[in-house]
Structures are given as C-alpha cells and as structure tokens.
C-alpha cells in the first residue's frame, strides 16, 4: 500500500460517504459505520473486472461503427446511416457545430477512453510509478466524459420518435444502436470497476514504506 495512505494507517475508507474508519469498529461485518455501504480496502478484483469489462466493450467497437445506427425510408428510397456517415452528412449539409459535437462525443471520446483505460490498467498492473499525477487526472477525465457518448443514441431516438410518417418519411433505429450502447455501457462499467487508488500503490512506494 502506498505510504501516507489510509490503508497504511490501517484505516478503511468508505467510497460512498468518505469516512475513514478502523475495520474493527465496523458494526455489521464489512459495512461502513456511518452509511452502511460495503467497505473495501480496494475495489474487489478491480483489475480483473476492469480488464474483462474493457474487453467486452472493445468487442463492440467494430459493429458499433460498421453497422447502421439508423435507417431512413422515404418515397424516394431507403438510406442507412452509420455513426460516421451521419456525421459526414451533417458536416456536408453545413451543420458544423452539431457535426463536431457528435464527432467528439461518439468517436473521439470512445476511442480516447479505450486507449486511456488500457494505459491506466496496464500501468496499475505493473505497479508503475510513471507519471502518477497525470494518470490520476486521466482517470478523472475518463470518469467525467464517458456518459456523454450516449448523445448519438438520444439523437436517433428523437428522430425515430418524430419522423414517423409512413410511407413519406420514417426513421427507424438500426442494429448499430445496440452495439454502440453496449460499447458505451461496458466502458462506463469498466471505468467504475477500476480503482484509481491502485495507481498510487506502486512498487516503488511499497519499497519506500518498508
């Protein structure tokens, strides 16, 4: 455990209400004396769970971008849009701001998140002391931005709900929507399973503490 940490003083910290407490004081076994949440020194099996969820998320990246997220039918024909072709269409039709918002939320954020979580998990697993403060900042960024990827799903939902004039014009969601949601949900769960405190439980720190 890292020097100066609550763990090094024999204290467990409740992740919900932030109370630092001695394990023996806990009233019900393993639960916080103040709020009753489960107490852990570190989130249980954090690395194994986070790797598993990240892998599950990664499996959905290809179908999420390759399959159509929505289909538009009109009298003039049918058209399928993937996330990327939808953004290209918005850009070409002059809605640059909206195109950029959707591009950042549904392309930049997911890929940056996949890379960031891989980096955080790999360095924590090797108990590396490399740029710990930057890694801490990166984790907070991942936690904060992950949910914004859902924007495009809500766009498709409103288009499908409003554009329902068969046979003139109709929008229906495509199979890409499911893959995209699965990708986003698994990556949010992966970030939640990882324990940022592992970033600081470095091998160098453990040697120092001895």
């Amino acid at each position: 455990m890292n020097p100066g940490s609550a763990a090094a003083y024999g204290l467990l910290v409740c992740e919900i209400c932030a109370l630092a407490q001695r394990p023996a004081r806990a009233a019900a076994a393993g639960c916080c004396v103040r709020c009753g949440a489960r107490l852990h020194l570190r989130r249980p099996d954090a690395l194994a769970r986070a790797w598993g969820l990240l892998l599950a998320s990664a499996l959905f990246y290809v179908p999420a971008y390759a399959l159509p997220i929505m289909q538009s039918n009109s009298l003039f024909g049918a058209q399928s849009d993937t996330i990327l072709s939808g953004i290209a269409y918005l850009w070409a039709s002059g809605s640059w701001l909206v195109a950029m918002v959707i591009f950042v939320a549904s392309v930049v954020v997911p890929f940056a998140k996949l890379a960031a979580l891989t980096l955080l998990l790999a360095t924590a697993q090797r108990r590396s002391a490399w740029r710990q403060r930057d890694r801490a900042r990166l984790y907070r960024l991942v936690e904060l931005t992950g949910r914004w990827s859902m924007v495009d799903v809500f766009v498709v939902a409103l288009l499908a709900a409003l554009l329902h004039f068969p046979p003139f014009a109709q929008v229906t969601p495509g199979p890409g929507a499911f893959a995209f949601c699965a990708m986003v949900v698994f990556s949010i769960l992966a970030a939640a399973a990882f324990d940022p405190r592992l970033t600081w439980d470095s091998a160098a720190g453990a040697r120092q503490a001895r």
Binding site: N2, S5, A6, A7, A8, L11, V13, E15, I16, C17, A18, L19, A20, Q21, R34, C35, G36, A37, L90, S95, L97, V98, V101, A105, Q132, R133, A136, R137, R140, R147, W148, M150, V151, V153, F154, V155, V156, A157, L158, L159, A160, A161, L162, L163, H164, F165, F168, T172, P173, P175, A177, F178, C181, V185, I188, A192, P196, R197, T199, W200
Partner: protein, 202 residues
C-alpha cells in the same frame, strides 16, 4: 492525527489533515489533485428548494411534448417516454430499455432519493431512511443522463429543422430547467457535509 481531523482522498487514499476552505472554495488532495470536499454557499435550504423545483419541472418535462413536427400537412410530436417507445417499436428493445432507464427511471429515482435525504435533514432529523437514500443516490448519479439527453435533443432539433418545420416543445424548456436546478442543487451542498449531518446518533 485524530480520525476526526483526518480525511482520506477517495482517488489516491492519501490521509491528510482536514482544512476549512474559503467560502465557495474547494479542498484538493495534496497528492493527486482530486476534489476532497467543497464549501458551498447555498446550504440545505437552497439544495432542497432546487431539488423540489427539479422534481416539479421533471414532471412537466414528462407531460409536455419535446418537439412538434409538421410534414406534408401531417403533425407529429414526441414525449420523453416516446423516445423509448420509438426505439422499442423499431425493434431495438434492449436500447429502448436503456433509454428509458437513463432518461426517465433513474433521473426520477435520483430526484426522489435526494428529496428523501434532504427533507428529513431540513426537519432536523437524521434517519436511517435518509442515509439509505443518499447512499443509493450517489450510486445512481452516473446513470441519470438528463444533461446528455438535453445535448442530444438540441443536436437533433438543429438536424431536423433543416428538413422540416419543427417547433421545440415545452418539455425541452422544462428539461433544460430541470438540468440547471439539479446542477444548482448539487452545487449548494457538499456530500461530505450531508454525511456529517447524517451521522447516526446525532
């Protein structure tokens, strides 16, 4: 260090001495820079008022249409619940369930749980119900996606107004106000302070 003076960072576990930040200020972890706690100016009354307002406006956001569209003389409108319905009738039941959860069920639950925390506190009681509610509320926070929904709605309205005659509905304004009030409520009390007031036996 006595336990009462010590605070541990939830992001790096560093145990450090509790300091009082200036009003409206924050205390950051000395090592990793995460926010340890804040000292907001609003207080319990402001938080309760904003959460009550958010509850009322969220009901309005569900009752009114999000947007109305006319095309070739036909009218269509969509409600918040209609978003999930459209996904389900398009054959995407799991997506519909997720949309229903993060735009309606979880936000409603989150607001209700916050009220179940703040009302007893405002009445000067520290009950186990309030503690249970705040614990559940903090676990649900990530999955209440009204702010993301609002961005998505604005984006699709811009997208649609290029091809059809579209009028934003009352629910859009109600939803925007709900998001703002929820943000204001969260900014007027610090969860560390709420937990200190909820200490059993107080």
């Amino acid at each position: 260090m006595r336990a009462a003076e010590a605070v541990a960072c939830l992001h790096c576990d560093l145990l450090q001495r509790r300091v009082t930040p200036p009003l409206h200020g924050v205390a950051l972890c000395a090592r990793c820079g995460a926010v340890l706690y804040r000292r907001p100016g609003g207080g319990l009354d402001a938080a309760l008022a904003c959460t009550l307002g958010a509850a009322i406006l969220f009901v309005a956001a569900n009752a009114l249409p999000l947007a109305e569209l006319s095309l070739r003389g036909q009218q269509a409108s969509a409600t918040l619940f209609g978003l999930a319905v459209a996904m389900a009738s398009g054959g995407e039941a799991p997506v519909a369930a997720l949309v229903l959860l993060v735009t309606l069920v979880v936000p409603a639950l989150h607001i209700a749980l916050l009220l179940a925390t703040l009302v007893p506190l405002r009445l000067g009681r520290s009950s186990s119900v309030a503690r249970w509610s705040l614990r559940r509320a903090s676990a649900l926070r990530t999955w209440a996606m009204l702010d993301v929904l609002l961005l998505g709605l604005l984006a699709s309205i811009v997208k649609l107004s290029a091809v059809a005659a579209l009028a934003p509905g009352g629910a859009l304004w109600a939803l925007a106000a709900t998001v703002m009030l929820r943000t204001a409520a969260a900014a007027s009390v610090d969860s560390a302070d709420l937990w200190a007031r909820l200490e059993p036996g107080r």
